[in-house]
Amino acid sequence: MQLLRNYLFLFVILTTAACSYEGSVERIPLEKFFAAPLKTSFLVSPDGKFISYLKPENNRIHIYVETWDGKNTIQLTCDTNRSISNYFWASNNEILYLNTGPANKDAALVAVKIDGTNNRELLSTTDSRIRLITTSRVFDDHVLVALNKRDSTVFDAYRLNIQTGKLALVFKNPGNITKWYSDPVGKLRMAIASDGVNETLLYREQESQAFNSVITNNFKTTILPLGFSADNTCIYALSNQNRDKMALVELDCKTGKEHKTIYNHPDVDVSDATFSVNKGKLVYAGYETWTKERHYLDDSFKSIFNKLELLLPNTEIRLSSSDSAESKFIVRTYTDRNPGSFYRYTPSTNKLVKLSDVNPSLLIEDMAEMKPVSFKTRDSLIVNGYLTLPKGKNKENLPVVVIPHSSSESRNSWGYNSEVQFLANRGYAVFQVNFRGTKGYGKKFWTAGFKEWGGKMQDDITDGVRWLISEKIADPKRIAIYGYSFGGFSALHGLFSRPDLYQCGASYSGFTNLYTYLKDIPPYFRPYQQMYYETVGNPEKDSEYFRAVSPVFHTDKIKVPVLIAQGARDPRVNMNETNQFVKELKKKNVPVTYILKEDEAHYFRNIDNRLEFYRELEVFLDKNLSRK
């Protein structure tokens, strides 16, 4: 009888185990998550007859052109040395593209006819850089470009004839202008000057006139010009001057005064606005709560989007290109579980045709859902974030990987993320926090992160993790922290400041030393240095703080396993310091996995190196977060 009961028990256990095994998703090969997209950067020709796109071939990216209905594909470029970094339609039968060689050197601006003939190098440099001021339509065969060939630290504005290749200086940079703006007809009429701390918006009515200062503001205030009104009386801009959240406003061209607020959102910054050259007006403003949303300023665009939303429910939709009549569009879509697709769309017939999938090898059903979450910090601030739970598991007591975002300022957004999906597929809950200092939630939230690296910014992450534990989602014995760049700094900081919270941590090109990080700013940009001194800290005056938060000084406090990936040529994280850091950890018998790549810089360009890193990360997490 006892024996029978034992067998029964064993049977129940085995069945449960089998069931729970079936419940978990199979491991998708790592390479699939990080596969490079096949076709990207779809554009419509101005007359709407052709579609162009970029496609990799033999390790280089090339431009292809085909008719609107997908016939007669022609490869336009076949440069084996340089890659295409930017391209656009110059006219109905000509494409302009910017070619750059390795390490952003050896750049060239090239024009080519859409039948592949008349491929001509208009501008070529070896040691200076080319920036395009004109990025869409070309007027009278002229484009505006910015070049730093006179002085490598400043960019002058030139006008270039794309037929003859003739280059003429339009404006000599007095040294403080950082950005140039062209008006819709190719005239250089607006610029932003900066002394690093304060920005000045410059405007002129005619190219022949001198620039007038319209408005000056501290770097903490942003005024981002978007375009001119048709009557040249005002500038459309995103501004958070005298307000916390960025709003879409209309500024007076001469006085810089705000005429009116076109749109603002109570909780988040307005992040972008689309100006229709065809209509000569703003058509919608974009903002991002937990997902991207639009406020329509034009009924025809509203109806276009409404129709698209019916065709593509629960999907992020972006109009990435249109013909000049705005009757044909390229639509880019994605969701949290889908890397997305490109479509061509004709609003008049409501015809939507798929052009390409970004990553067709992934099955949407296998991907995990990314959900917005928010929690209250110790000082009662509401902080938002995203939580991706692994599919097919119960939703409690999960191993968690916390990923602080890779720049101190740029937020996490809802959408497909290879890293997140990869980790979720391996059974980890992935937690991303838009801690204070993140842009997009208003000026106050952003500036609250100043000089708080490793301070309140880190506390927000800590509070988020504690919240996850209190919600019983996280298993307090199985939490890891991993990040790239700033995220790596945050991970290492978390490991030495909260050794009890994390079982292990991984840093991919994470800053180990703030002194070194601030050395990056070339000293001739003294003004920018001032800005960094305000946002991050002053290495001379805030030396105590630098020493207190830089992981390189605190190897003695790290007790849990660490994974570190470092490029030997990284200008922002000194390899010698990382070597020293690893050496000291090893000396203290902390298990360290060190991946050093000789030919890589901050970001590993070679896909094999990146994949190797993720493979090591998988092994590392598996070893340290598996249930013991």
Binding site: N513, Y515, T516, L518, K519, P522, P523, Y524, R526, P539, E540, S543, F546, S550, V552, F553, A568, R569, P571, N574, M575, N576, E577, Q580, K583, E584, E598
Partner: protein, 557 residues
């Protein structure tokens, strides 16, 4: 033809030779072991100094490998207060650091009043500070730009200029396309001299590129780049010596490299090991007196000697045990030999009597009734004797091999004793035998076996008593769960030396009472029986006064 004696042989000479041999081996081994240990200790004295060096130099290595490179972490941003904090941690942790000079320097293409200039590249100190334990605050600052009271002097700036020169040489030839390798880093940014280490914070590749451009091209006035340099003055005599082998080294000192002990008596053994890096002018000097080392040799030799002696004694013990075994075997051999002798004799007597009687009957022409009865009686008695003898042997073998079984029944002790005594009174009219029973009436046991024990003991009591004093008292008592049966006689007694052997097979006490008719089985048989019945038999005896046998049997009813 040689005739082998078929008896047990004992050869004491062999035993003695064995003992002598192993004793000699012990002596030899002890001697070799001592020499070996002495050699070993002397070798260790020479070789273990490396470990002492490693332990002693460990804090210095930590200082050199970890603490000095930390300067680079500050990327040249150190100022006098930060530097003071950094140096303070050094003073606290590394007592061999005597004095630290901090050069707060700048690089530019401007011309400095001090420092060096190569082409357009200038490297000059902004200020020089020195730190040591208990330094007066006003003497910390050694030099500061544009402060007249603190001028730049060759004394304070010499080290700086040397490093700066080396650095500018490096900048001039630097290959900025490749990563700095370890040997570059050591050659350029470290300067290790006697009692002094200088270190300059290692610029990043980008900065080296900028410096090279500054040097080789004409540019507008550049900003000032920060550079930190430190000179650490070390005192080797303050290195803490860690004597990891205090048993080997009586004293360890740090001495100048040229030091030689003058008291070169043969009583002192010494050895030295030169220090490296900034301490290379000094050496670790190890010395021990011979008596000190001898103590160590003895300490190490003692357990070895102990081990050897223990194995020696184990060998002797084993030899003794083998010898004793042989002795016992030879005794057994003798006993068996005697037994066969006795048994033959025992059988011979009745057989010869029977033979004589048979002969007489055969040779007599006529037998009278008296003769017939006489011979018949003889034949009958002798046959009984033989039968009895065989029964005894048989049952003894059986009981020894546990081949018989107890058939217990309730015995009325009164009746049992009375019957026995009655039969003995008929047999030996001169035997005064009496019994007494206390506190027990019935006893459950095998009456045949119990009777056998009684008979044997009563027979012995009769046999070993002088003819005029044949007295036996049997006393049966029950104490707790044991039944005690005591047989007390007034016989000749048993000598103390034989008391232990009387229960052995074939053992007989040598005296006039058992010249014949005794096999030496009676008591051995009793003992086997009692053992078989889970009991115990013991004896007390005084020679000339009598013996008392006590049988103790478990009482169960």
């Amino acid at each position: 033809m040689k005739h082998y004696q078929q008896t047990y042989r004992k050869n004491f000479a062999l035993v003695i030779i064995f003992l002598i041999l192993i004793t000699a081996a012990l002596g030899g081994t002890l001697y070799t072991a001592y020499n070996f240990t002495a050699n070993y200790v002397e070798n260790e004295f020479a070789s273990q100094k490396i470990e002492v060096l490693e332990e002693t130099i460990k804090p210095y290595n930590d200082f050199f490998q970890n603490k000095i490179p930390e300067i680079s972490f500050y990327q040249g941003y150190l100022d006098s207060t930060q530097a003071a904090k950094y140096i303070d941690t050094i003073f606290r942790k590394f007592n061999f650091v005597d004095r630290v000079v901090f050069y707060d320097a700048t690089i530019s293409n401007r011309t400095f009043s001090e420092g060096i200039r190569v082409n357009n590249f200038s490297l000059g100190p902004k200020a020089i500070y020195q730190f040591s334990r208990n330094i007066a605050p006003d003497s910390i600052l050694v030099f500061k730009e544009n402060v007249a009271t603190k001028p730049f002097s060759l004394k304070s700036g010499d080290e700086f200029n040397k490093m700066a020169l080396k650095f500018s040489g490096f900048i001039e030839l630097a290959d900025t396309s490749r990563v700095l390798n370890d040997s570059d880093r050591f050659n350029v940014f470290y300067s290790v001299m006697s009692k002094r280490i200088s270190y300059m914070n290692i610029p990043r590749r980008e900065e080296i590129k900028i410096y090279k451009d500054l040097m080789l091209s004409n540019q507008s006035l550049s900003p000032m780049y920060e550079l930190d340099m430190f000179s650490f003055y070390l005192d080797p005599l303050k290195l803490r010596i860690k004597n990891t082998k205090p048993e080997l080294y009586e004293s360890i000192n740090i001495k100048p490299l040229v030091y030689e002990s003058l008291e070169n008596t043969s009583e002192i053994i010494s050895n030295d090991l030169p220090l490296s890096g900034p301490f290379s002018d000094y050496k670790l000097y190890f010395s021990s007196s011979k008596t000190f080392l001898r103590k160590e040799i003895n300490a190490r030799f003692l357990p070895i000697a102990g081990g050897l002696i223990i194995s020696y004694f184990i060998l002797v013990l084993i030899a003794y045990l083998i010898f004793r075994n042989l002795n016992i075997n030879s005794k057994l051999f003798k006993l068996q030999y005697d037994f066969i002798n006795n048994l033959t004799h025992e059988f011979k007597t009745p057989v010869s009597v029977i033979k004589i009687a048979g002969n007489n009957i055969r040779s007599a022409s006529q037998l009278s009734d008296r003769e017939r009865i006489h011979y018949g009686k003889i034949l009958d008695e002798e046959a009984d004797k033989l039968n009895d003898l065989m029964n005894k042997l048989l049952s003894f073998t059986q009981i020894e091999n546990k081949a018989i079984q107890i058939k217990p029944e309730n015995i009325n002790l009164e009746v049992f004793c009375q019957n026995l005594i009655d039969s003995y009174r008929v047999k030996y009219p001169d035997f005064d035998i009496s019994y007494m029973i206390r506190g027990v009436e019935y006893f459950r046991s095998d009456p045949v076996l119990l009777g056998s024990i009684f008979q044997n003991l009563i027979d012995n009591a009769y046999k070993y008593s002088r003819p005029d004093n044949k007295v036996l008292k049997i006393k049966i008592t029950k104490i707790k769960k044991q039944l005690f049966i005591k047989f007390s006689d007034r016989g000749i007694g048993i000598p103390t030396k034989d008391l232990n052997n009387i229960f052995e097979k074939f053992f007989r006490v040598q005296n006039e009472y058992n010249q014949q008719g005794s096999v030496g089985l009676g008591l051995a048989f009793c003992k086997e029986l009692v053992k078989f019945m889970h009991g115990n038999i013991s004896v007390k005896s005084v020679v000339g006064k009598g013996s008392e046998f006590t049988i103790e049997l478990p009482y169960e009813l």
